[in-house]
């Protein structure tokens, strides 16, 4: 909205209702803190994100407090790419996009690229492989169960584990 249009809108609104002194509140600082701690990254954040790659990206983005644009800038990729990764399971991101995003998120680039091709990392940790497969097979993009959410968290951990030599 242009400044002129905004000005015209505000003039009409101020003629209709005086907003002097309006406010809202009622939440105690303690409640706010508790809620913020509990939801550092919430399942609701991941609802509407269909694919496992998208969920992992969305998770890290929320955790770091980045907007899509900020994330794209930091990874030197296009904002549209972040959006596509988060919104479409079928989107095929370019290799450079994946490498840059992995770097930004602190992920193993190799594992991240495997995940982008819906390939569950095969090596070690049988327990985690099961979880990864579970996350990959989520069939309810509209909502995220606690189990699915845990699976995404685990997936983020596995991707972040660069100690096993495969950067």
């Amino acid at each position: 909205m242009s400044f002129e249009k905004y000005r015209e809108w505000l003039a009409r609104k101020l003629a209709f209702a005086n907003d002097a002194g309006i406010g809202a509140g009622g939440t105690s600082l303690e409640d706010l803190r508790k809620d913020a701690e509990a939801r550092t990254v919430t399942p609701a954040v991941l609802s509407g994100v269909p694919g496992e790659l998208g969920r992992v990206v969305r998770y890290v983005r929320e955790q770091r407090g980045w907007t899509r644009r900020q994330m794209a800038d930091l990874a030197s990729i296009d904002e549209e790419e972040v959006k596509n990764i988060e919104q479409s399971e079928e989107y095929e991101a370019a290799p450079r996009t994946l490498v840059n995003l992995a770097e930004l998120c602190g992920f193993s680039a190799r594992r991240f690229q495997l995940l982008a091709r819906h390939i569950v990392p095969r090596e070690e940790r049988a327990g985690r492989m099961v979880t990864l497969a579970f996350a990959a097979k989520s069939k309810h993009p509209g909502s995220v169960s606690d189990e699915e959410f845990e699976a995404v968290r685990t997936l983020v951990q596995v991707l972040s584990d660069r100690t096993s030599g495969d950067k």
């Binding site: 907003d19 002194g21 406010g23 407090g65």
Partner: protein, 205 residues
């Protein structure tokens, strides 16, 4: 600096609508700056005689003791808790903290539909008639409420917004067609107001 866009406020000294900046995500340093200037302004007002026609109790504002820095720090950098600010004439004119995730409608027609919840909203004390005889700017609250409605729209929540109104603000929310759903004990006994989709569309039109 976080993205900002140009909006308008009414400068009450001239009556003119002047450009202001809506900052879409402020950090705790910014909130600290607001606390500094707002609290010292209130302290100065309290120290001198109350303006004519206003009782000293007028200064006992519900949010006179708010520390925005603490609020912003509490929510860290969570995307689901954006804090917006309005900057004009080199000062912070208003602040609003939203929760954009995990809040749901209470009105029958939007029961359980996601909404944007206004956790805190306040204008700078020099804009409040309860503090000064001649407020400096008008439009701060209107602009912040518009921003909340717009964010609700961007998130796919269709403009649905809920909040707990400070007692002196209820008439304003009523006037715009927000409906009051009664007092909540755990929200300092404030009345809850909610905006439906149609009311939101009319408000930003």
């Amino acid at each position: 600096m976080s993205p900002s866009r140009t909006i308008a406020l009414q400068d009450m000294s001239s009556g003119a609508l002047v450009p202001a900046q809506l900052i879409e995500q402020v950090d705790s340093a910014y909130a600290h700056r607001a606390d500094d200037s707002w609290l010292s302004f209130i302290a100065a007002q309290t120290a001198c005689a109350p303006p004519e026609g206003l009782s000293v109790s007028g200064l006992e504002l519900q949010h006179a003791h708010w520390r925005w820095e603490q609020k912003v720090q509490s929510v860290g950098s969570l995307l689901s808790y954006p804090t917006l600010g309005i900057e004009c004439a080199g000062e912070v004119q208003g602040l609003m903290l939203l929760r954009t995730d995990g809040e749901f409608g209470r009105l029958a027609e939007q029961l359980h539909h996601p909404i944007v919840y206004v956790v805190f909203l306040a204008a700078a004390p020099w804009n409040l008639p309860a503090v000064v005889a001649e407020p400096r700017f008008r439009g701060v609250g209107t602009a912040l409420l518009r921003a909340a409605v717009e964010i609700s729209g961007e998130l796919g929540f269709k403009g649905r917004v809920g909040l707990h109104s400070l007692p002196q603000s209820e008439a304003f929310y009523h006037r715009y067609g927000m409906r009051c759903l009664g007092i909540d004990e755990d929200k300092e006994r404030l009345n809850y107001f909610e905006m439906d989709v149609d009311t939101a569309a009319a408000f930003i039109r």
